[in-house]
Amino acid sequence: MALPRITSPHAKGNNRTQQVMLQVLLATVPGILALTWLYGFGTLINLLWACLCAIGFEALILALRKRPLGFFLKDYSAVVTAVLLALALPPYSPWWLTLVAVGFAIVLGKQLYGGLGQNPFNPAMIGYVVVLVSFPVEMTTWPAPHMTGPLSALQHIFGFANLPDGWVQATALDTLKINKSLTVDELWTQNPAFGYIGGAGSEVVNLGFLLGGLYLLRKRLFTWHAPVGMLAALAIMSLIFWNGSGSDSHGSPLFHLLSGATMLGAFFIVTDPVSGATSNLGRLIFGAGVGILVYVIRAWGGYPDGIAFGVLLMNLAAPTIDYYTRPRTYGHRKPTRGFKLGE
C-alpha cells in the first residue's frame, strides 16, 4: 500500500499568490460591470489591452532577468496590476496611453525593483502617475455616460476615429475645483449627468468597488484597518472643511466618499500588502494618511483627484510607520518601537 508521502503542514489554505490574485480579479467584477454599463465597451477593451500589455512586458523582463516565465506569469500579479490600472484610466484612453502606463508599472514599478513582493511603490499607481503627469489632456477627458458598441469602442481606442464632440465632459471633481461662482446645487442642476451624489454616475461605480471590497474583506484577504482608516480620514476631513453648499464648498463627505476613485483606492490600492504598512496599527495610520492626502489634493492641490499621489507618498512613509508601530512580541511586556538611545 502506497501512502502519500507529503510533509507537514497538511492544512490547505487559499492563500497562495495565484488564489489571492484571482479573488481580487473576481472582486473587481461589480465595478467593471458598473463602468461598462455607464461608458460602454471602452472599459472592457481597455482592460483586455492592458492585460495583454502587462503579460507581454512581464514575460519580456522575466526573460531578460532569466527567471522562469511560467511560474511567475501564472501568479496573475501582472494581470491584477493591469486591471487596477486600466480601471483607473479613462474608458476611451488611446491605446498608446495604456501601453505606456502598463509599461512603466510593470517594468519600472515592479520588475526593476526585483519583481513581485519587492516593489516599494504600488506599481499600478506608478503607471497611473507617469501618464497623468505626462499626458494631462488625455488623462482628464472622461466621457459623459454613454453607451457604445464594441466595434466603435475599438475604433476610438485604436485611433481610427476621434471621439465625437460633446462626448467629453469634465468630471464632478474637476467642475467643483474650477467652480468659483455657483453654489453646489446650481452646479448639479446645470449638469444633469452628474447624477445624485458623486458625479457622472461615479457613485454607481464606487458602490460596485465597495461591493467587491466587502467581498474581499469577508474572504479575509486583507484586514479592515487600511480601508477604514482611509475612508474615515477622508470623511472627517471633508466634514471639517465642508463649508455647506456655497460656491467655495469642497463638497460633502458623501460626495467625496462616492466620487473619483475613492472606493477603488480604499479597497484595491491601499490594501496592497507589499507597498503598504504591515502591522494593524500601521495599516490604520497608513490608510488615514492616504485619506488626508487625498482630501488635501482634491481640495487645495493641482489635480482633481489625489488617490495615486496620496498612495505613493504614503508608500514612501510605510517603512517609517512600520518602524514605529511594531507589535508587542510574545514574552515582552512592551513592544520595542522606534529609536532608542544607546541601542
Partner: protein, 236 residues
C-alpha cells in the same frame, strides 16, 4: 612612475567615467540635461574649467601646503568659473540665462575638485591637462547623451534651439524624428533625468559584464597548460 596617456584616456571616457561610474557632479548632470543644447553648453563650460583648473592646480602643486590645499583649489576653480561665466555672458547670453545658477555652480562640481585633488595635485601639468580633457569629455558625453535622449523622448525632436550656442546659422539644425508626437512630459521633468541616467548606468554595467565574460572565454587556453596536479580527492 606616472600614469600613461592611454590609461588616462580609458579612465576618463569609460572605466572611471565621472557621470556613470564616479557619479560625481550629479546636480548639473540631472538639472541641465533637459535638452541637447543646454547639456552641450554646460558640458563645454565644465570641460573648459576642468582642463584649466587641472593645469593650474598641477602648476602650483609644489607650492601649496597640504593643510590648505582644498581652499586653495576651490579658489582657483572659482576664479576660472567666473571667467567662463563672464565669457558666456558675453557670447551666449541667452544660453547663459537659461542655464542660470548651474554656471556658477560649476565651482562646486565634485568632478572638478575631485580631479584637482586626486590627480592634478600629484601629476605634471601636461598629464593633468590631458586628464582634465578626458574627464571633461567623459562627463560631457554622458551629459549630452542624456540631454539628447530626454529631448528626443520629451518632444520628439533633436537639436532644437542650437542657435543659442552656435549662432544664427544653427537655427535650422532641428531634426524632427517623430512627427505628430504628443510629447512625453515625464522625460523633460526631473524624474526623466533620474530614469535615463539609471538606464545608462545599467547599460554600461551590462556592456562591462559581457566584455568580462568574453575575456574570460578567451582565457582557458593559457590555464590548461599550467594545471596543478591534484593529490587528494578524486581526479577527474
Amino acid at each position: 612612475m606616472s600614469v600613461s596617456y592611454r590609461e588616462i584616456t580609458i579612465n576618463g571616457l569609460w572605466k572611471n567615467n565621472p557621470g556613470l561610474v564616479q557619479l560625481l557632479g550629479l546636480c548639473p548632470l540631472l538639472g541641465t540635461s533637459n535638452s541637447t543644447v543646454n547639456a552641450l553648453g554646460l558640458a563645454l563650460a565644465s570641460a573648459l574649467v576642468l582642463i584649466c583648473s587641472n593645469t593650474a592646480v598641477s602648476l602650483v602643486r609644489g607650492v601649496v601646503n597640504t593643510a590648505v590645499r582644498l581652499p586653495a583649489f576651490v579658489m582657483i576653480i572659482a576664479a576660472l568659473t567666473t571667467c567662463i561665466e563672464l565669457l558666456m555672458q558675453a557670447y551666449t547670453y541667452e544660453l547663459y540665462q537659461i542655464l542660470g545658477i548651474f554656471i556658477p555652480l560649476i565651482t562646486t562640481n565634485c568632478v572638478i575638485l575631485g580631479r584637482a585633488d586626486a590627480f592634478a595635485a600629484k601629476n605634471d601639468p601636461a598629464r593633468a591637462a590631458y586628464d582634465g580633457l578626458m574627464m571633461g569629455l567623459g562627463f560631457g558625453a554622458v551629459l549630452v547623451v542624456i540631454g539628447a535622449l530626454r529631448e528626443l523622448f520629451g518632444t520628439g525632436a533633436l537639436f532644437a534651439n542650437m542657435q543659442l550656442l552656435f549662432g544664427p546659422s544653427a537655427a535650422n539644425w532641428q531634426v524632427t524624428v517623430f512627427s505628430d508626437y504628443k510629447g512625453f512630459l515625464l522625460a523633460i521633468l526631473p524624474p526623466g533625468a533620474f530614469i535615463v541616467l539609471g538606464l545608462l548606468i545599467a547599460l554600461k554595467n551590462r556592456i562591462d559584464e559581457s566584455l568580462a565574460e568574453r575575456a574570460k572565454a578567451r582565457e582557458p587556453a593559457v590555464a590548461a597548460q599550467s594545471r596543478r596536479v591534484r593529490v587528494t580527492g578524486v581526479v577527474e
